[in-house]
């Protein structure tokens, strides 16, 4: 064969085939007009054409590789997901794709996926249909099956092929967590045959095809968990572990993965069929639709950081407390040089210790940990402020102290440097009064714990220049975080929305409702943590101070019970006692007596306060639109992602019904439930 034969009769837009001297077909994927390869319907149809050629005239082997710099294949096309109308249509598409992979798998010649860069979801399933997989051993190469994060599971035969390849434990771990692993880790668990440096990729591929080694199989110990006697026991352990992480009613996909394995592992054909049925059902379900929405909301937040090409090299963080210290560590982790200032080494050293722990967890390799530690520079004298591109103030919440600090650092800062504050409650306008250039100050509001929370509120005062806010958003993006532009109103967005919800929980406690009951109902609704435990975790003193600032500006009452707790020195988790008592940093909980309490109304009360406040924020334009509002609340508070955000949820219930519910609550419990005026305008619009 010659190269010229490639482009006959069918115009391939996304694939190309070349044959080398050994008659190995090098099948390249390069999706047209896209930065990354995804398995769209068109890509799959063209693949079918290639497949037909290989079936008609099998070469000595087939090596699939990507021409994109970004990676191998990122997965199925999420945009096409949304367009799937019903279960039937979904099933048809899935069966088609499965059929292609099955045909590819049964080709007589050896096949190999050459993975350089990311290889995720459907992309990895494609690779699993190959006899061999070789991955490039570098930091860019990432493999995983993150489908559960979109409310579905692998559907192109992934659940069927993965277990026999790497054994049930490793397979379930990958599919249930959706975690992404490196080439080396993939080699370790047997997901790929070789992990090699880039310089050897092509040689390794053609040598493997020509020498046809025996494909990978898991060890006996890994396989034996598939035995009929052991399987139900293993599945039971998996279910119970899973139940602690995800509620089946909210997140059915991971349960379906275990089901498929438990029931059908011994018959691949049936399993393939059942996989298709299961995913077809999931993909058109509410959870998946909402999680896909969350995925796009996340993309929208990322977009906020793309309006400026601001890039920082050196950051100066002032205040090495929990927030300041962890922010500094995060910046160093992300490759920035960071000077961390506080009054004495004694105050800085705990932050260094926490940073070392974080780096160890995230970076694993000693030399990378050392590099990150080298970038994090304690700076008692505060001399780093002069060379910094970004200054982050994270000292205690006191307006005068912050203003005094700004007065001293503003003249020292580089002209181009960004001045930011991590205040959570003081209006930026007031803080900026101390500056010669008040347009300089932007709020950069991180959430606790910094290493976990993806959202950063980018807070603009009336004076903050658009440019500075855009720089701040770009900086948040540089930190791998999601920037949410908000207006500087008390509590900004996230704390403002959380506070009524937390205060309602305290109100419920004052009425004698058990803390366990309140928390159980909140997590049943889909919150990641109950409000009572959350308040304890944040610290009751901090809750009280934020609540006071908010009520001062926005009206309402701070429940007496909260003041009392703080007065008695019970600040929550950090003092070992708050609303709960803590042992080994864990809340001691009794079983909630949920059946005896008027539970629906408790859940309604909690959620309604949050939803109503969200509407107020939207009406007051704290954020620019409902999508950003939903995004902020999901990523800032953990609000039930499978519901797609409070505004989306309200739309689902119907604004009319939502308002009626508020009115009912208002009659029983008073003013604080009065529906916001915003609901009326939305009602009319819808």
């Amino acid at each position: 064969m010659t190269l010229n034969e490639n482009n006959n009769d069918f115009d391939l837009k996304n694939w190309s085939i070349t044959f080398d001297a050994q008659n190995i077909a090098w099948l390249a994927i390069d999706k047209q007009d896209a930065s990354a390869n995804v398995l769209s319907q068109q890509v799959l149809r063209e693949f079918e054409y290639c497949l037909e050629r290989f079936e008609a005239e099998p070469p000595n082997g087939i090596i699939i590789f990507s021409k994109k710099k970004t990676g191998f294949i990122a997965g199925a096309d999420v945009n096409e997901f949304i367009e799937l109308k019903d279960e039937h249509q979904a099933l048809q598409f899935i069966r088609y794709a499965q059929g292609l992979f099955e045909r590819f798998e049964s080709l007589s010649c050896p096949t190999l996926a050459l993975i350089d860069g990311f290889c995720l979801g459907g992309g990895l399933e494609f690779a699993l249909a190959c006899r061999y997989r070789i991955a490039c051993d570098d930091a860019k190469t990432k493999l995983g099956l993150p489908e559960v994060k979109l409310g579905i599971h692998p559907g192109f035969g992934g659940t069927v092929r993965l277990v026999p390849l790497i054994g049930p434990m490793a397979a379930m771990d990958l599919m249930l967590t959706g975690r992404i692993i490196s080439a080396r880790a993939a080699k370790r668990i047997g997901l790929v045959d070789f992990s090699v440096p880039r310089r050897h990729l092509e040689t390794a591929a053609s040598k493997t095809i020509l020498s046809k080694p025996k494909p990978q199989t898991p060890s006996f110990f890994k396989r034996c968990l598939n035995f009929r006697i052991l399987k139900p026991l293993v599945a039971k352990i998996m279910y119970s572990k899973l139940a602690k992480k995800a509620n089946k009613a909210h997140y059915p996909a991971p349960y379906a993965i275990i089901d498929l394995w438990l029931k059908h592992e011994n018959d691949p054909d049936v399993m393939m069929n059942q996989e298709a049925r299961s995913i077809a059902k999931l993909v058109v379900g509410q959870t998946s639709k909402n999680l896909v929405r969350v995925f796009f909301l996340q993309e929208k937040l990322k977009e906020q950081g793309k309006q400026s090409d601001f890039k920082a090299q050196q950051v100066h963080v002032i205040g090495a407390g929990v927030m300041g210290g962890d922010i500094a560590a995060w910046c160093a982790l992300r490759g920035l040089r960071v000077t961390l200032q506080d009054q004495s080494p004694e105050r800085i050293s705990p932050a260094i210790k926490r940073a070392a722990k974080l780096f160890k967890k995230k970076l694993k390799q000693p030399r990378l940990i050392q590099q990150a530690m080298d970038r994090l520079i304690p700076d008692v004298k505060g001399l780093g402020v002069r060379a910094a591109d970004v200054v982050i103030e994270a000292i205690y919440e006191n307006k005068e102290a912050k203003q005094e600090l700004y007065r001293s650092i503003e003249p020292q800062m580089k002209k181009s440097a960004l001045l930011t504050t991590n205040t959570s409650s003081i209006p930026i306008d007031e803080l900026a009064q101390a500056l010669a250039q008040p347009e300089r100050l932007v709020g950069l509001h991180f959430f606790n714990p910094v290493a976990m929370m993806q959202l950063i509120e980018i807070v603009s005062s009336n004076q903050t220049s658009i440019e500075q806010a855009q720089h701040a958003a770009a900086f948040a993006k540089q930190l791998g975080r999601l920037p949410l532009p908000v207006k500087s109103t008390p509590g900004f967005l996230v704390n403002r929305i959380l506070m009524p919800y937390l205060l309602e929980a305290v109100e419920l406690l004052s009425e004698g409702i058990q803390a366990e009951t309140i928390d159980k109902l909140a997590t049943d609704f889909g919150m990641p943590m109950g409000p009572v435990e959350l308040a304890d975790t944040v610290g009751l003193d901090i809750c009280l101070s934020v609540a006071e600032i908010l009520t001062q500006h926005l009206g309402g009452n701070v429940p007496e019970l909260l003041r009392e707790k703080v007065k008695n020195g019970n600040m929550g988790r950090k003092t070992g006692k708050g609303f709960y008592e803590y042992k080994n940093n864990k809340a001691i909980k009794v079983k909630s007596s949920i059946d005896d309490s008027p539970s629906p109304s408790i859940q309604e009360r909690l959620v309604s306060r949050l939803m109503n406040e969200a509407m107020t924020c939207l009406r007051e334009k704290v954020v620019t639109d409902a999508d950003l509002l939903d995004a902020g609340i999901i990523f800032g508070t953990g609000f039930a992602p499978f519901l797609g955000g409070p505004m989306h949820y309200a739309e689902k219930i119907g604004f009319e019904a939502q308002k009626a519910q508020f009115q009912e609550l208002e009659q029983t419990f008073g003013d604080r439930f009065r529906p916001d005026d915003g609901w009326d305008s939305l009602k009319q619009a819808s």
Partner: protein, 471 residues
Amino acid sequence: MNSGPSYQAPVYVVDGSRTPFLRAAGKPGPFLASDLAVYAARQLIARLPIEPKQFDEVILGCVMPGPDEANIARLVSLRLGCDESVPAFTVQRNCASGMQALDTAARNISSGQSDLVLAGGTESMSHAPLLFGQSMVNWLAAWSRAKGIVRRGRTLMKLRPAFFIPIIGLLRGLRDPVVGMSMGSTAENIAHRFDISREMMDEYAMRSHHRLAKGQESGYFTDEIEAIYSSDGSYYEHDNGVRADSSMEKLARLKPVFDKHFGKVTAGNSAQITDGAALLVLASERAVNKYNLPILGKIIDSQWAGLDPAQMGLGPVHAMTPIMQRNSFNLNEIDCWEINEAFAGQVLACLAAWNDTDYCQNELNLDGALGSLNQEKLNVDGGGVSLGHPVGASGARIVLHLLHTLKRQGKQRGMASLCIGGGQGGAMLVESVESNNISGVKKQSPANEIEVTNESMEQVEVKSELDNDTE
């Protein structure tokens, strides 16, 4: 002997920083030599208006880098984020390695080859290796060649318990192989020659501790030392070898270490084994102007000298004398002295040598005795005896401290010198630069009348607390 000073063009010291010197506690300390150097230098990079990639080169002195620290200067350079294109090399002149790094950097600047150099020294003496003896190494080689049970068994029979006795790398490093004497014994040698008594040594040592303690109390080290932090949450702020309560009684109780029974040199009147690093940024006039750099002082001249290894402690007088002659200074014209305290008796012997007509005439080719040095101007804030002598770092430390002392006292001229194991001496003449003009270095001004920026270094008051934050 050279007739003019070592440097043709002016060499500026922009800034310097060092770690606290940490006393070795009989086990490896928390920091490697490269850690110490990185922690000292990154402070400079963070506070100066220069990017690490703007250095033309990085030069470090280090006597015993760890097994993973071959060419430690390059390692440190890369860890600091200097560009890959910035070359770096390590110099070794035993106890003066740090000063050697400064001298090499200064020469490269003065010749126009470099404009901006990061230079200094580092040493983690507590990490000095334990080595296998030659017999053990031979046995191991035989073992790895032995194939089969019989041969292995036979080889095993040849293993002797004595093979396991380790060689302490540090002790070997502090021993002169040519004359077969430890450094301490050479100090005994010259103390004997100039009649330095045990009491004189102990008194000197006590004063060193008291001076350091007073300096710490007075905050004289604030601009010089940056605290260093370990991953386990501990931190080190000060030179921790100091004994503020040092007294003659306590010192008298110590036994001689080197010449057992009858010697005078004890652990109390010798330099301490410590870990530490000191780094300086040196610049040409061009670089000072280009980056608008502050200036701490100037390096004027330097000298290296050789002498009998058994008399190595007298090295400083052999190195300093030519500088004094070249620049026509007498002892009173130097405002401030730093002579590294390898041993109390050794510093005293140096002073005695200058005061000794015989020695000055015969060994230094002078007409007569140079005179006696006013000890109020010498090692004013302590030295190696009280704060330790991490061999690779001390040379850079004394130059840095000298410049800070001159600045503090409003004085002009200072001399730093060290004795060097193997029978050498090194010395460096520095000058402070008047710092009352904030307009920056004037491009048109002649090099020796440079006016410098007086950047306000006031600290920002920070009152940090847990941030009020909700999740």
